[in-house]
Structures are given as structure tokens and as C-alpha cells.
């Protein structure tokens, strides 16, 4: 039911782990099924230099988590802000319809990490 790309990211997830002294941290729970993702980002000169994640969830949740870390690394904060859950799903060659909600987990955790970064900067 999953594409090869989803299975690849599921089997070999990129950027698993935590970042000590991260510049932004976002944690999101999925209201539909109860899954949880946590995302850490490192920012330098307005650009995301590193991202790591931990996810408690299904195959699609783990694959979208992995994919979004790859997508954000190297992007400016403004570019990262634009990443939607559809974009993550498309980057994985699609998700089964019943699994589309799983990609919200990654997109929402990213937004929260960006918000956390901004809040820390203005503090």
C-alpha cells in the first residue's frame, strides 16, 4: 500500500535523534490516531542547518517525519514556513488516502518548531 519512497524512508529514516541546544523544538500529537512527533531544528543566519526527529507512529508518520527533515535542511525560515503536508506527501510519491492525515503530524511539528524558534529569538 505504500510507495517505494515511503518504504525507503521508513526502513532507513534520515535524521533520527535529538539536537542538544536546539534553536527550535516542536512537538505535535495526531488527534486522529494518537501518534506523536517531535522535531528539533538548528538555525544559523536565518537558515535551517540541521533537523532531527523522533516519532511514535505508523509507517507513514515515520516516513513523512524523515522526509520533512530532508526537505527543511538548507532552507531559509521563510521557505520552510511554506512546506505543507501535501508537499511532504508528494515528495514521497504520495500516501494512501487513509494515511494523508499522518503527514499533518510532520507539517504541524515543523510549524511549531519554527514558532518556537521565533519565540526564543524575541524573548
Amino acid at each position: 500500500m505504500y510507495t517505494d519512497k515511503v518504504m525507503d524512508h521508513f526502513q532507513n529514516p534520515r535524521n533520527v535523534g535529538e539536537i542538544a541546544n536546539a534553536d527550535g523544538v516542536g512537538e505535535e500529537g495526531n488527534v486522529r490516531c494518537g501518534d506523536i512527533m517531535k522535531l528539533w531544528i538548528k538555525v544559523e543566519d536565518g537558515r535551517i542547518m540541521d533537523a532531527k526527529f523522533k516519532t511514535f507512529g505508523c509507517g507513514a508518520a515515520i516516513a513523512t517525519s524523515s522526509m520533512i527533515t530532508e526537505m527543511v535542511i538548507g532552507k531559509t525560515l521563510e521557505e520552510a514556513q511554506e512546506i505543507s503536508n501535501q508537499a511532504v506527501a508528494e515528495a514521497l510519491d504520495g500516501l494512501p488516502p487513509v494515511k494523508m492525515h499522518c503527514s499533518n503530524l510532520a507539517a504541524d511539528a515543523l510549524q511549531k518548531a519554527l514558532d518556537d524558534y521565533k519565540a526564543k529569538q524575541s524573548a
Binding site: P13, E27, C33, G57, C58
Partner: protein
């Protein structure tokens, strides 16, 4: 790669001996059993022979067996048929919180159509207590339906005790024995039930055929109207090869049980004991009052679908009660009814052994599950090593 099928509670393969018995029924016994000429008489004899054998193995009488199109149909016929027939007497039905959806959704449908239902809870081992059933009985209770062996966590219910209660009060008692027929010795008269459902594909027979035992004197409204087949209780030209296949599979299961059951229990217990060694693991279901082939555990901090995908990569077929594996995105109603939290139920794994299972399969599972659990935990935000 090695492939190990450990989902026998979902379905089993048709045994070669069963297929062998079905082929002549397809090739030669094609007549319509309702016809008077020789082809019809041959077909009738094939069904009669099958019914006699099935009835005999279950401790029932010839006319007490109705062949159906599935286990679900047998459950539907028992519950809707009895409820409809007795609605002048009362409209209250008692069932449990851990039934298969074939029972649960049927009772819910009756609720939506003017009937009343009580869902008896279970304890942490998944056991329904006869006392709780007794407490739920009302003046207008017309039917009690409590399953025999649970398909998810394997707990075997005290149906004999419930049958006594029901009988004393003149209430009909149905049990869904889809998971136990074939695997446990079933004698309907000793059990004391009024109705009992079974499905051939759970004991190496074909899919799409089941049966309902209905004690003589119990009257049901049919679900399917039309011809006079199955003594007016299930219209439709009989599927002779499937009926023959069900019967052959039941005969084989019955004659081999003495050898198969202890072997399954030994492998089951070795799997449970081995998996329990993994930290933060919970065994679900009763330890002893348990289906011989059922293993069900929860690994905390991980989710079931990702566990199943990892097992599949190692060639192991299993199932889970995780929300992510269910179409509804709700975790197993059975595990929740046993008091597990949503989060713990999320990490459940069910392995169900079968005839083809070997000690080497048990070794293989015990070797591959721990590293998979560790890998997923290392990835989980809930886990602190």
C-alpha cells in the same frame, strides 16, 4: 527469504485433504439438491452426509445444523433471527464489550431498530464474569450472546456458566465459537448453549462457509428469504463443495486435536515467555484460559503498524490492534475494554500459531522481534532509554 505466517486467527490455508474432498463435489455433485432426479438426490446425499458428520462432531442432532455463507452470517442469523422472533416477549439483549464486530455491530443495528442492549464489561484479563451477566438480566431480556474464545487476545469465556444462568431464566444463549471450533473440543449439549456459530476458514476449510447450531425448539426468523433450503431458515441453493470442505476440515481438526493442541500450547507459551523478556512489555489476555495458538503483547512506546511493517520485512506476518492499522483509526475495542490506555493499545502485537508453525519459527520470532522493538523505541519521543 523465509516467510512465517503467524496470523492464523485471521484465516488459515485450505488443507490439501480438504481441497481433495471438495473437487469431486465440484466435478460430479453439481445437481441442485432440491431436484427429484438422480443428480439432485446425489447432491442431497452429499449435504446430508456432511450435516450428519458435522452434527455428530459437535454433539448436535442432524436438524440442528444450518450451513451459512460465513461466520458473520451465522452470528447475524442467530442474533437478528432470535431477536426478531421474540420481540413480542421483550427487546433486551445482553452481550459483552469484547465481541467480534459481527456480533457487536449486529447488536448495535438492533439497538438502532428499537431493541435495547447491555454490554457487559470484562476484567483486566479480558474475562466476562457470569455474575456480571446475571446482574444485567432484566424482565425483558430475550437473548444473551457472549463469545467463546476472543479473536484478539485469546481469552476463553465461561460460556458453560452463562448457559446455566440463561437456561434457568428461559433466555436464549448464543455463543460465537468461530475461534474455538476446530481448536478446542466443542460439544454443544455439554456447553448448554442454544446457538453456536462457526466458520470453516479458521480451521483449514474454505472461506465463505460457516454454520450455526440451533437447538431443537429454538425458532428464528430467517435473514435470507426465498427457497426452503436449510429447513426454511436459510434460502439459497446450497454450496455443496464448501459444505463438504467445512465438514472434512472439521473431521481432520477433531481427529488431530490431541496431537496438535499441546504442541501449539508449548510454542505459544515459549513465545509469550520469550517476548516478556523485552522490558516494558505487557501480556494481554488470560494466561491459562487462552486459545492454544494466541499470543498477544503490548510493547510500550511503539506503534503497531510500524512494528508489523518491520516484521513483514523479516518475512513474519502478524497483526496489531493499533489505531493506525484500523480503518477507523481507533485502537482495538477489546484492548481498551480490558483497561489498556490508548497509548499502550497502540503498541499491540498479535501472533497466532497454526499447524505449519514450528519451534524454529518461534526461535526466529524471538530473535527478530527484540531488535525491531529497540529500533522503534530509539526512534520514539516517548521512550527514555
Amino acid at each position: 527469504m523465509e516467510r512465517i505466517y503467524l496470523d492464523h486467527a485471521a484465516t488459515t490455508p485450505v488443507r490439501p485433504e480438504v481441497l481433495e474432498a471438495m473437487i469431486p463435489a465440484y466435478k460430479n455433485t453439481f445437481g441442485n439438491a432440491s431436484s427429484v432426479y438422480s443428480w439432485g438426490r446425489e447432491a442431497r446425499k452429499a449435504i446430508d452426509d456432511a450435516r450428519a458428520i458435522t452434527a455428530d462432531i459437535l454433539g448436535a442432532e442432524f436438524n440442528e445444523i444450518i450451513f451459512t455463507g460465513s461466520g458473520s452470517e451465522a452470528d447475524n442469523l442467530a442474533i437478528k433471527g432470535a431477536a426478531w422472533k421474540q420481540q413480542h416477549k421483550g427487546k433486551h439483549i445482553i452481550t459483552s464489550a469484547i465481541e467480534h464486530h459481527a456480533v457487536l455491530d449486529t447488536v448495535k443495528w438492533l439497538e438502532a431498530n428499537g431493541f435495547d442492549a447491555t454490554y457487559v464489561p470484562v476484567d483486566e484479563d479480558g474475562l466476562v464474569s457470569a455474575a456480571a451477566v446475571e446482574e444485567a438480566i432484566r424482565e425483558d431480556t430475550i437473548l444473551i450472546t457472549i463469545m467463546h474464545g476472543n479473536n484478539e487476545m485469546g481469552t476463553i469465556q465461561p460460556v458453560e456458566d452463562i448457559a446455566v444462568l440463561a437456561k434457568d431464566r428461559g433466555i436464549l444463549f448464543h455463543t460465537d465459537a468461530v475461534q474455538t471450533v476446530g481448536s478446542l473440543p466443542i460439544h454443544v449439549k455439554d456447553m448448554g448453549v442454544d446457538m453456536l456459530s462457526l466458520a470453516a476458514h479458521k480451521f483449514y476449510g474454505p472461506k465463505g462457509v460457516g454454520a450455526l447450531y440451533v437447538r431443537k425448539g429454538v425458532r428464528l426468523d430467517p435473514l435470507i428469504h426465498g427457497g426452503a433450503q436449510e429447513r426454511n431458515r436459510r434460502a439459497g441453493t446450497e454450496d455443496i463443495p464448501s459444505i463438504v470442505g467445512l465438514t472434512k476440515a472439521l473431521e481432520l481438526a477433531d481427529s488431530e486435536r490431541r496431537e496438535v493442541k499441546p504442541r501449539l500450547i508449548a510454542m505459544r507459551d515459549r513465545l509469550i515467555q520469550g517476548l516478556e523478556q523485552i522490558p516494558d512489555t505487557k501480556v494481554n489476555g488470560h494466561r491459562d484460559k487462552r486459545l492454544p495458538n494466541n499470543v498477544n503483547v503490548c510493547f510500550r512506546y511503539i506503534e503497531g503498524e510500524s512494528l508489523l511493517l518491520n516484521l513483514d520485512m523479516m518475512g513474519i506476518a502478524a497483526s496489531s490492534g493499533s489505531a493506525c492499522t484500523s480503518g477507523s483509526l481507533d485502537p482495538s475495542h477489546v484492548l481498551l475494554a480490558m483497561g489498556l490506555s490508548h497509548e499502550v493499545a497502540h503498541g499491540s502485537l498479535r501472533l497466532t500459531l497454526g499447524r505449519s508453525s514450528t519451534e524454529a519459527d518461534v526461535d526466529y520470532v524471538l530473535k527478530h522481534v527484540p531488535p525491531i522493538v529497540k529500533r522503534l523505541r530509539d526512534m520514539s519521543p516517548l521512550y527514555q532509554a
